[in-house]
């Protein structure tokens, strides 16, 4: 199997930092309404790193945006609760939500070139956060921004403040984004595919950076990626999503050693293994379903090698099969 580092002990606090229950997100398009996310429930505890895995289009990014309440028209959150520090984010006013974004919770996006405004300097974009949330003056904000850039490992931070995004390398841009997100020491950092658009070598560096900073600042991280190998290194627990619903949620070790859902098993088998050189690459038969034509009952059944009659007729429940290990499958145990 995969070599993984020993995860830091996740403190077992009574109340999780983030608690999502029964989240549903819809998109209204010409021909009807699509449910991009349906009945999603998971927790994120203080100081832990939760990995969210799944193929493109499974709803990972939409979930992340929902937590930040950034889902825009034609999408909307259709149901559920998102408790952050005990408060239901879905009931907050827009103004209250704005005080939380960038301050108590922050987000890092996949493509740093387009996620940064090409017309403003890095310094301006970072200082903005401090000026808006901490009421700092421009000079002070810039000074602190320079420090932040240094912390994420960008050389000559002072000069970099005056640079524009297109003048930085991909890796540096992502570091700057991370610095920007962590300026106000948020309790929660959501990283949506932070390294997918970067070179492999840079990927490792950025992940390392996230882990260090996360630990140092005691920030909880929700790490979204389709790359399971990365999650093996970084995540304390992993949530596997497929076609807008949760399929499995478990501590990382448990997930990788004893995956209970056929989909998770399939994903893990697809990874090339050093232990079996020369083995033919495996695939999961079929393709991700069209959201307009979602399979009935269990969403995975058309592609599942173990599918039985009941899978085609009844949607499986979200069951806790072992302490902290949940799965949505009739046949799992």
């Amino acid at each position: 199997m995969i070599e993984k580092a020993t995860p830091p002990a996740a403190p077992a606090h009574a109340t999780p930092l983030l608690s999502v229950s029964d989240l549903a997100v819809e998109f209204r398009i010409e021909s009807g309404t699509l449910r991009a996310v349906d009945g999603l429930s998971f927790d994120l505890r203080e100081g832990e790193t939760l990995g969210v895995a799944g193929e493109s289009g499974c709803g990972k990014s939409v979930t992340a945006l929902s937590v930040m309440r950034l889902v825009q028209h034609p999408g909307r959150v259709a149901g559920g609760r998102i408790l952050f520090d005990g408060r239901d984010l879905l009931t907050l006013s827009e103004r209250e939500m704005r005080t939380m974004r960038g301050r108590s919770m922050a987000m890092v996006f996949q493509e740093p070139m387009t996620a940064l405004n090409p017309l403003f300097t890095i310094g301006t974009q970072l200082a903005e956060v401090l000026m808006v949330h901490r009421g700092m003056g421009r000079a002070d904000a810039l000074a602190e921004s320079a420090e932040a850039l240094e912390t994420v490992g960008i050389p000559e931070p002072g000069a970099r403040l005056r640079s524009y995004p297109h003048q930085l390398s991909g890796g540096q841009r992502q570091r700057a984004m991370i610095a920007m997100a962590l300026l106000c020491r948020p309790r929660l950092l959501i990283a949506d595919e932070p390294t997918t658009a970067l070179d492999v070598t840079v990927q490792a560096q950025i992940m390392q950076l996230l882990r260090e900073l996360g630990g140092r600042l005691a920030t909880s991280i929700m790490l979204i990626t389709h790359d399971l190998a990365v999650l093996a290194e970084m995540a304390d627990r992993v949530l596997v999503m497929y076609a807008g619903v949760a399929m499995e949620l478990a501590p990382a070790a448990a997930l990788f050693e004893d995956p209970k859902h056929p989909y998770t098993r399939g994903l893990l088998e697809c990874l090339p293994s050093l232990a079996e050189p020369g083995r033919k690459l495996r695939v999961i038969e079929g393709t991700v379903p069209d959201p307009a034509a979602m399979p009935a009952a269990c969403r995975f059944h058309p592609r599942c090698p173990l599918a039985e009659d009941i899978c085609r007729r009844t949607a499986p429940d979200w069951r806790e099969l072992a302490p902290g290990h949940w799965a949505r499958c009739h046949l799992a145990e």
Binding site: L70, N117, V132, H166
Partner: protein, 323 residues
């Protein structure tokens, strides 16, 4: 930046030469010349006509005439108008100024209304005010300048609120300084409105479309994720980017503005470059025609240059690539 401008100005020269050659060739293709109508008149002595022909240089082949014209241009001698018996430059000066004033004021009107309207429309997408404004814009850009000019003329004639021709009143000389300014504006406003109308509509749609596109961009999501107030996200982040394509438009619009100005000048009797060109073309007043056409081309090229400079100023990506 200066090097950038210098390079572009240098590039202008072969372009202008090319344009002048094209214009001259087209003119030379025309049957007859300035003296044709004189020749048709039996009362004029053919010898006089021949003398005039030599005097005007019309007896030489076209490429010789062109060469001579080009040589004179380099010495800043624009030649003399056959019809007006005056140096071309003197005639063109006032006319060009009038056209420039008309074009500029119509731009001020158009941009001054279109930008705010477009922004509001985009920010309130799907609202009834957005739909109404978009619809009006659509109607506005479908109205041909010919029609709007004639309608304006009709309005002026029927209501008497506006003058129907000229840049100033007959008794302009006797007006006070303030009176003169008011009079000028009074004569300017209707032509400027007519000319501004068609660009206004198109601009408003552009602004709206551009801003809507930027509002869907990733960096806008980032800005919201940072917890910035929505006003700041829209007016500081999105709008700055949305203006970019319009800046380019700003420069290029000068060119099409000249075509529209020609129509307005004819209909509302505004003594500008356009009307001059028409007369010069009809009469084969060679040097006047060339100078007028070249001025129009120069204005257009300068417009492009201004667009490029503005774009470099506004967009750091371009600025740093050019050095």
């Amino acid at each position: 930046m200066l090097r950038f401008i210098g390079k572009r100005l240098l590039h202008m020269i072969p372009l202008l030469i090319g344009v002048s050659l094209l214009a001259f060739v087209i003119m030379s293709l025309a049957p007859g010349d300035y003296l044709s109508q004189m020749r048709a008149n039996p009362q004029i002595n053919p010898d006089t006509i021949e003398a005039l022909r030599v005097k005007f240089g019309l007896d030489k082949p076209w490429y010789v005439q062109y060469g001579r014209w080009l040589w004179n241009i380099l010495r800043l001698d624009f030649g003399e108008s056959f019809a007006y018996h005056q140096p071309v430059f003197r005639i063109i000066k006032t006319r060009m100024l009038n056209t420039f004033v008309l074009a500029l004021s119509s731009m001020v009107i158009a941009w001054g209304i279109a930008i705010p309207l477009g922004v509001i429309s985009a920010v309130r997408q799907y609202s009834w005010s957005d739909r109404a404004a978009s619809f009006m814009a659509f109607i506005g850009l479908s109205v041909p300048t010919v029609l709007s000019g004639l309608l304006a003329l009709l309005l002026a004639a029927r209501t008497g609120w506006f003058p129907t021709f000229g840049t100033q009143a007959p008794d302009y000389e006797y007006l006070s300084a303030a009176g003169r300014i008011a009079d000028r504006l009074h004569h300017l406003i209707l032509p400027a409105l007519v000319l501004g109308l068609s660009s206004l509509a198109g601009l408003m749609r552009q602004m709206r479309g551009s801003l809507l596109e930027q509002l869907r961009a990733d960096y806008v999501t980032t800005a919201r994720a940072k917890g910035l107030p929505e006003r700041r996200v829209v007016y500081k982040h999105a709008l700055r980017n949305a203006i970019n394509p319009l800046v380019t438009l700003f420069g290029y619009s000068l060119g099409s503005l000249l075509s529209g100005a020609l129509i307005v000048e004819v209909i509302m009797s505004w003594p500008g470059l356009g009307r001059l060109v028409i007369d010069a073309i009809n009469q084969r007043d060679q040097y006047l025609y060339m100078a007028a056409l070249m001025m129009a081309a120069v204005m257009r090229i300068l417009g492009n240059l201004v667009a490029d400079i503005l774009l470099a100023l506004v967009d750091p990506r371009i600025r740093y690539e050019r050095g």
